[in-house]
């Protein structure tokens, strides 16, 4: 019992060093992981789908899928896992760390790119490196999926307008016969430049500098 505990602690320590989370945070995440997995070592999609709070979320499926997407593990693999372990879980969580005060501009750029990459992977479901019009349409449809018929009608138009905008900004002069294949990662970065992802795409309690993490727990 004692041996396995120290081993877990070592594992935690290793994870903490690798990902930059504090030990405390890793422990909390681990507790949650066990809760979700039902005391197993791995989580499958069904475990995540059981979370009630997610039901109202229009992009629920994409979020769950993102956890199992091998691309987010930065291993160079592609495809979708059926189950993930704690390490992969933490790896995905890494994408939501806020920037620290001591980061340089380059670090911030790198962090922004990482977060944008995560978003990009969520949109690019067939993993061809571009977000095609159909994929983008699907994104907007999902976003408006809880809004009934009005949503679906407008989704198409909105997605088209958005795509046009991306094309106009990135490739301003196209001949009528040319075809804009899809949004590449560079174009994606370009259009979302104004949003400053590194400051927005954060979960507060994953702030590595604070030690206060006793906001409410659910379930």
């Amino acid at each position: 019992m004692g041996a396995s505990q120290t081993r877990t602690e070592d594992v935690f320590q290793e994870l903490s060093d690798k990902t930059g989370f504090s030990l405390e945070q890793i422990r909390i995440l681990h507790k949650r992981f066990r809760q979700l997995s039902g005391e197993e070592d791995t989580i499958s999609k069904e475990n995540l789908e059981k979370i009630q709070a997610l039901d109202k979320n229009p992009i629920r499926n994409q979020i769950i899928e993102a956890f199992f997407d091998k691309r987010n593990q930065n291993d160079g693999e592609v495809g979708s896992s059926r189950e993930i372990g704690f390490q992969q879980f933490v790896k995905v969580m890494c994408h939501f760390k806020p920037p620290t005060l001591k980061m340089t501009t380059e670090d911030k750029e790198a962090m922004r790119r990482e977060k944008l990459r995560f978003l990009f992977n969520m949109h690019d479901t067939d993993n061809d490196g571009t977000i095609t019009l159909d994929e983008y349409r699907k994104v907007v449809e999902e976003l408006l999926s809880k809004s009934g018929a009005i949503g679906l009608e407008a989704a198409k138009a909105i997605a088209d307008a958005a795509m046009l905008e991306v094309a106009s900004i990135n490739v301003p002069h196209m001949e009528p016969h040319e075809f804009y294949e899809g949004i590449t990662f560079e174009h994606f970065e370009q259009i979302l430049k104004g949003l400053e992802m590194e400051s927005r795409m954060n979960i507060r309690f994953l702030d590595v500098d604070t030690s206060t993490m006793h906001c409410g727990k659910s379930q």
Partner: protein, 738 residues
Amino acid sequence: YIRLYPKRQRSEAENKDVPLSLSEELQKQVLHNESSVLSSVFPGFHLIPRLSSIVPESCLLITVGLLVGGLIKLAGEKVPPVLDSKLFFLCLLPPIILDAGYFLPIRPFMENLGTILMFAVVGTLWNAFFVGGLLYAVCQMQSAPSDLLNLELLPCLLFGSVVSAVDPVAVLAVFEEIHINELLHILVFGESLLNDAVTVVLYHLFDEYSSVGTVTVVDAVLGVLCFLVVAVGGVLVGAIYGILAAFTSRFTSHTRVIEPLFVFVYSYMAYLSAEMFHLSGIMALIACGAVMRPYVEANISHKSHTTIKYFLKMWSSVSETLIFIFLGVATVDGDHSWNWTFVTVTVILCLVARIIGVVGLTFIINKFRIVKLTTKDQFIIAYGGLRGAIAFSLGYLLDNDRYPMRRMFLTAIITVVFFTVFVQGMTIKPLVELLAVKKKQEAKRSINEEIHTQFLDHLLTGIEDICGHYGHHHWKDKLNRFNKKYIKKCLIAGERSREPQLIAFYHKMEMKQAIELVESGGGVKLPPSVPSTVSMQNIQPKKPPPVERALPQIPKGREDEIRKILRGNLQKTRQRLRSYNRHTLVADPFEDGWSDLLLKKSKMIELEKKMNNYLTVPAAPPDSPTITRARLSSDPQTYQMKQMSDSVPTIQVDLASPQSPDSLSLLDELQRADQRRELRRRPPPDEEEGGLMMRPPQARGGDQGEEGGPSAKEQRLQRCLSDPGPSAEDDEDEPFLS
């Protein structure tokens, strides 16, 4: 309350509560008129380019005020007490605050609310006590006999509280010109708005206590309680009036003209009610404006929205100008009692207190913030703590009997105000450049950003749920859902209540582009925005080569001819549309029921789909982006090839709107307006060409119901085409989304 009902009457001759004699009244009026004229002439400052880039407007205005005051004094007349506290708090201040509150960017405000509150409450308290306390200490240290020695602690603290409040008017005036990034702007500005509650409570408390003489702990606790009541009460009063206004606006669809009036009246009533109950009027006004805005904007017409916007801007501009001018006049006029020690110590202490306060607070705040405040940010926040007319007016309200030092206080306050406005106001711009502080991003909100903002919101909420953490986003999401489910249903009229935000945004964009299209005269000149030649063709997913090209192989030359004809007709039509016929007044399509029209349109699109056998004329050659965008904003499905179940080619010109039975039954103005709008937004291949009406050889499985339509419709169309378009009536300078 202190502002409206000064408890103690002053007995001096120049007491404004004594009814003014006729000549004084007249003088007051004349001065007011002069100032109003001046304030309208004042924009002339902008004509001197170098001047306005170096010196902020507020400084110039104060200088003008000084001149005017000086002139009046030279003329030997007695300067009427223009910065009448009543006038100030009742007439001059509310428009500025309402303008600020109505257009408050809610998202950044809420995200930084904790920080703002910290600065506003704790910061102001710190400033007040620091300045007041140290001033008292300095006064006690006076070896010389001066009256400073007689200054007790409580009056000092009172003075400290008056002089330490950051002034929203001054901040607005200066920050508007330096265009710093949104975060800093909202921090300083939010602080200046929210510290009103603190100032009010402190002022009131110290005023009371200094008559009592001693302060007990109970009093201090009561003071804190008082603060909570004042602040929360003010916000509640404002919110209630805001909801009332929103609710009223739901029913104004038949009385569009007076819609702006409701907004103004309810807000002003919120302010007065709050002041009447001794609550914080400024916070009430802010709460009212911020609460009512989303609902009111969904309900009112486009024109009312423009009216509200421009009236608010106008009033707040005029008020601001007047305030600064009067400040100048009052400086010249006021009887001053200059005391070197007091004044210099005050100025220095104010600066020091501000700096220490900001640095200390940031240290604590950064522990809780995700995006930390850097040193540069702290400097700007500290440097942007400007004092202004509110401090002066509060000082003016002091009772001369109880505060023999009043004149000295006033002098000191004026000096601090002048110092901050002139010195800090003038130097902040070069400092911002020097420190390379991030500036405001000028880019307008794009649809992609909007999509991803929403996406992010949901994503972060989802992740929080997965982590089991009831954070920030979780509660925000809950609030949004509550809003959508219950509140919107009550407060927004008609169909709009169910419109998701993304779609609302998209429609706004569409409308803006439609306006731009109309204003640019139908694509004759390119709009200043993205000049790209990308059109929908470039984006449509590659379909397999059109095997089922229902139009039999027209030789390429013929196709080009057709296109040319269509394009030519389009331009002719545009010119026709623009010919103004005063005798035919048409309902403004941009007015009533815009959203209803859009929804009707979407329903009609659905019905269209049921009609089979229509194909598109091949998309027109790349026109100017405006046309493309306008075309795009309507249903792009029109431009896709439909798989033909049969090989008989049919040509049907796509008449978007009027095919549905719905529209046929509604023969009203709106309907015609709808058609016209549809027409304008669907250039070449469609129906605008009066001459080129290609009627379908009727399709099988045809829509019998619609057959009665075409002839009546055609007539309507002809009539419509000769009507003046809204571009003739459109007298707005810019699309209402600026």
